[in-house]
């Protein structure tokens, strides 16, 4: 393994081109470094474009190398994308969060990566540039090739940033997670929700659960059931039941049995929804 710290995007693309598939992009390196792969590592964690945290042209724009700590403590993320702050503040340990990045969390392609689940909940797109200079935007949930493998080819493609619409008045987001321990533990289930309310009814909703597939998975059938519904106990019970019915899960020695996970999917999705809806109602209106 070799390692190169670069200071601008041109250098990243040039290094990848020169290496002809034998070097890959890395940011925090917390996962990739351990694998001791026969690749060169091109570190883009110090670039202006990959570390920016801003609201621009009606979108929250977060550099792919923004650390979990930076995202979790950003005033912008806390006010306009609470689900992401909540996802980032429970990843690994403080040491990991201080160096691991949100873009890495997505490209590493673990099926229940906390930041990635929150980003899918928020409806985030990744901005990707390839070594020829072609740029594309792609929804985060579409970046998963198979279990633990991203469709982003980091030997020739670079994720620059993640973008999504900020939560405005009447909107809220939340992230929930259930694990055996509060640090350094894989989630048995994690979930994220984004809700928009109008006149007390659900106008728009995104619900995400993981790990139920290689990618964080939107529960589109449950979402459809919710449109136009009021916020009450009946709706909450409906979410819990519909979410669990919509997914197929398997048991895992690393996480928990399939039966328990199915139960958790319903509970965690409903909790994420409830918190997001409370935030959408605004401070003081739902015990927030």
């Amino acid at each position: 393994m070799s390692y190169q710290l670069v200071s601008n995007l041109d250098q990243v693309l040039t290094s990848l081109r020169d290496a002809s598939g034998k070097a890959r992009v890395v940011a925090g390196a917390t996962d990739l470094y351990l694998q001791d792969l026969p690749y060169g590592l091109v570190d883009l964690s110090c670039l202006k474009e990959t570390t920016v945290i801003e609201e621009k042209d009606g979108l929250v724009n977060l550099g792919a190398a923004v650390t979990h700590t930076a995202a979790a403590s950003s005033a912008l993320v806390l006010s306009k994308a609470k689900a992401l702050a909540e996802g980032c503040e429970v990843i690994g340990s403080p040491q990991i969060r201080n160096i691991g990045t949100i873009g890495g969390n997505v490209v590493n392609a673990a099926p229940a990566a906390d930041a990635a689940v929150a980003l899918v909940g928020l409806g985030a797109e990744a901005v990707i540039i390839d070594i020829e200079g072609n740029k594309r935007n792609e929804a985060v949930e579409d970046l998963y090739w198979e279990y633990n493998r991203s469709s982003v080819d980091s030997t020739r493609e670079v994720m620059i940033s993640l973008q999504f619409k900020p939560c405005m008045d009447g909107e809220g987001s939340a992230f929930t997670r259930f694990a055996a321990r509060r640090a350094l533990a894989l989630p048995m289930v994690n979930a994220a929700a984004r809700v928009k309310l109008e006149n007390g009814l659900i106008k728009e909703v995104r619900l995400v659960a993981a790990p139920v597939n290689p990618a964080p998975t939107r529960l589109v059938k449950t979402e459809e059931l919710l449109i136009g519904q009021p916020l009450n106990d009946h709706t909450m019970a409906m979410i819990e039941k519909a979410a669990a019915e919509e997914v197929e899960v398997r048991g895992s020695l690393l996480r928990c049995s399939a039966r328990y996970r199915l139960h958790l999917v319903g509970v965690m999705v409903a909790r994420a929804f409830k918190t997001a809806a409370a935030r959408a109602m605004g401070p003081g209106k739902a015990g927030e």
Binding site: S2, L5, L41, Q95, I96, N98
Partner: protein, 155 residues
């Protein structure tokens, strides 16, 4: 592996060394710079024994390619005692019985040190979160939390 010149600040002093930038910061600190206070534990970011500060934030030095420290500030446990006097955190670890075998202590103290730099008067919950990436297999965590809270009061 190709070596390169790494220039950074180590424990308050500028250093310039020739290293393989793909080597871990932990290995460079221990084997090249002779700073054995930082412990090599699990080697995969789970135990926290190798915790050092990079630009004032706690990181697992086993997971940091040395090339990442270029132009930055690194602080290790060796920097805590000054003028022959141990740091209040170290004092309180001894005072509260927060050390038994001592293997986790340097990492534990560095995580606490990073916390107190950012938040000089943390509440118990913040202390728990700050050391949640550090494993101790003998003394237990209660005395460690007490030592950190007590040191915060003294500082």
């Amino acid at each position: 592996m190709k070596k390169q010149v790494l220039i950074f600040q180590l424990n308050g002093e500028p250093v310039e060394i020739l290293s393989d930038p793909a080597e871990s910061l932990l290995t460079v600190l221990r084997e090249q710079l002779g700073l054995y206070g930082t412990k090599a534990g699990c080697g995969k970011g789970e135990c926290g024994a190798c915790t050092v500060l990079l630009d004032d934030r706690a990181v697992n030095s086993c997971l940091v390619p040395a090339g990442k420290v270029q132009g930055r500030k690194v602080e290790t446990i060796e920097n805590l005692s000054q003028g022959g006097k141990v740091h209040p955190l170290q004092e309180e670890f001894v005072e509260k019985g927060a050390v038994q075998c001592g293997f986790c202590s340097p990492g534990m103290v560095m995580s606490a040190y990073a916390l107190l730099k950012e938040n000089p008067q943390p509440n118990p919950e913040k202390v728990k979160v700050a050391i949640s990436g550090n494993l101790c297999r003998c003394s237990g965590y209660k005395q460690i939390e007490e030592a950190i809270l007590s040191a915060a009061k003294k500082m």
